[in-house]
Amino acid sequence: MKDNVVFVQGNEAFVEAALYAGLDFFAGYPITPSTEIAELLALRLPKKEGVFIQMEDEISSMCAIIGASLTGKKVMTATSGPGFSLKQEAIGFAVMTETPSVIINVQRGGPSTGLPTSGSQGDVMQARWGTHGEHAIITMTASNNQDAFAITVDAFNLSETFRTPVILLFDEIVAHTRERLIIPEPGEIKVIERLKTSVKEGTDYHPNLPREDGRLPMSDFGGVHRYNVTGLAHDMWGFPTTDSTTVYNLMHHLVDKIQGHSKEITRTKEYYIDDAECLLISYGSSARTALHVVEDRRLRGEKIGLLELQTLWPFPAEVVKKKSVNARCVIVVEMNMGQIVHEVKKAVDDPEKVFLANQINGSFIQPTDVLNIIRIIQGKGA
């Protein structure tokens, strides 16, 4: 067997992927169930002359990676539930200053301290709207190690391409499930590097003047160009402003650069969708349960399929609309009281055909949890 085939838990797969994508700098704080990510990077990053630092809290971890990213490093932090809440203000700073950064949130049961060692998908809306103020954000997820690897590399690529924080919304079950991972050879998955300015030293560099295509080439902070970075609304110099036209343009730029590229950012997987009368929509570890149900019912001749979402934000409404058009019923499988289900209802032609199959007791959602809903919809009773 080749030595790039490993048997690891999800947290290890995320680490392998981050290193594959070129991670240079990690700052974190211990929290269950994401701690293994920090432990592994403490071991691995110094070997490649990268920086690992355990900060004094969750907030400073997020701040430190933003500082490092501005100087030209590829950066990441990792946390879970309560830590994700604490990082929100600084995530907003990364949004406003357009600083590439990757944030892993291994979701656990909440609210508050909740269920630290149990799986949950309760942070979907927090990933979208957790930081204050109007903004757009990218959030990705995956259901198994191999996909999590590809999606993590993707997260770094999207973060650099769109100059935005990208949230990797994994969950405890994916993070702690041990399974096979084939680590791709270098070059097998494309790794995107940061777009740097071509403005020469000694020439005025406008850090916040978008090119015609909307992109903002960066100059490493602390390098040849001196410029200001601020979380205040700012002009093309990066200097604070309240000028209404400038603020209008800034806000539209921040939102449009992501919402306007939804197609490029959308990642989904399809299983038996073409003739599906019953369409399951799921993501993260719940999609494993959903896939089990689909494969099991297919053996019995039922026309059932699965659309697995790997991009949660911006929500892939177009794909959901297109793929659900022939389905008589759509069942969203998720481990919360219904978060993505509302987005699905907004996206489909008839919201009345959308149902929720969920679990919120700390246990992994079971096939029977989904089957009971299917039976009720079919009029057979649970």
Binding site: D24, F25, A27, L43, P46, K47, E49, V51, I53, M55, E56, D57, I59, S60, S61, C63, A64, I65, I66, G67, A68, S69, L70, T71, G72, K73, V75, E89, A90, F93, F221, G222, G223, V224, R226, Y227, N228, V229, T230, G231, L232, F239, P240
Partner: protein, 267 residues
């Protein structure tokens, strides 16, 4: 070079009130950097939120204006990524010791080579005059209309206790020594804390019976004394100024380099 060669004139006039001490600190910081013969491209300024933080925009260095209380956390990320840069973090009293107190004590514990400059005006000025962790017991503020019952921190003692390897205090009255202290703090290889008492005539002064900025500056002269002076023996109420700690300790970025060497030897 002239002071104006270090500032971004196009962003003036600044937002500070008439009589504010922060401009004096900015000029002194520039003078100290000039004396150290640092290139403008060598200097990074990282600030938080508040009146103090606006120093960022005006200085022609690499400037990072962050979020309230977290300047040192951002500065840690910058310094660890580019240890060759000189990183200076000007902060207000609330910024550094209320919302940001945790980051300050931990930066001190690590002894990372960052110069923290506490522009202490004893008040939250940007929000209009609320009591801060350095507002005196019995002082008045918009949120202490009857009298402040909080006891103030002694920032110097706190920094010393947290293990900072350079700790100093000065005031905006004592400009010549302020420049020297900032110069030494920046040159110091490790975490430096410089508390600079800076007058806020608009909010602290008006609420606490100071008729003008000049009165406040005179107060700094009359109520402070060099460390170990005889005046202090006679009047223990006097606030000491000068350099309290200046010691060599292993610096964090240097220590991290050792970790990299150990990790690569383990291959």
């Amino acid at each position: 070079m002239a002071v104006k060669d270090y500032i971004r004139e196009k962003f003036f006039p600044h937002i500070w009130c008439p009589g504010c001490g922060h401009g004096t600190i900015m000029t002194s910081l520039i003078r100290a950097i000039e004396k150290l013969e640092k290139e403008k491209n060598d200097i990074v300024i990282v600030s938080g939120i508040g009146c103090s933080s606006r120093i960022c925009g005006y200085l022609d260095f690499h400037t990072l204006h962050t979020i309230h209380g977290r300047a040192l956390a951002f500065a840690t990320g910058v310094k660890l990524s580019r240890p060759e840069l000189t990183v200076i973090a000007p902060m207000g009293d609330g910024d550094a010791f209320a919302i940001g107190g945790n980051h300050l004590i931990h930066a001190a514990r690590r002894n990372i080579d960052i110069t923290a400059i506490i522009m202490n005006n004893n008040i939250y000025g940007m929000t209009g005059g609320q009591y801060s962790p350095s507002t005196g017991y019995g002082d008045f503020a918009t949120t202490a209309p009857y009298s402040n019952i909080d006891h103030p921190f002694d920032f110097v003692k706190l920094a010393v206790g947290a293990g900072a390897s350079f700790v100093a205090r000065t005031t905006t009255y004592h400009v010549t020594s302020m420049i020297k202290i900032i110069e030494k703090a920046i040159a110091h290889h490790g975490f430096s804390v410089v508390e600079i008492m800076s007058q806020c005539p608009t909010y602290y002064g008006r609420k606490n019976k100071f008729a003008s900025a000049v009165d406040m500056l005179k107060y700094y002269n009359d109520h402070t004394t060099p460390i170990g002076s005889k005046d202090k023996e006679k009047n223990p109420e006097l606030i000491e100024r000068g350099i309290f700690v200046d010691k060599e300790m292993p610096e964090y970025c240097d220590e991290y380099d050792k970790i990299i060497k150990m990790a690569s030897q383990g291959e």
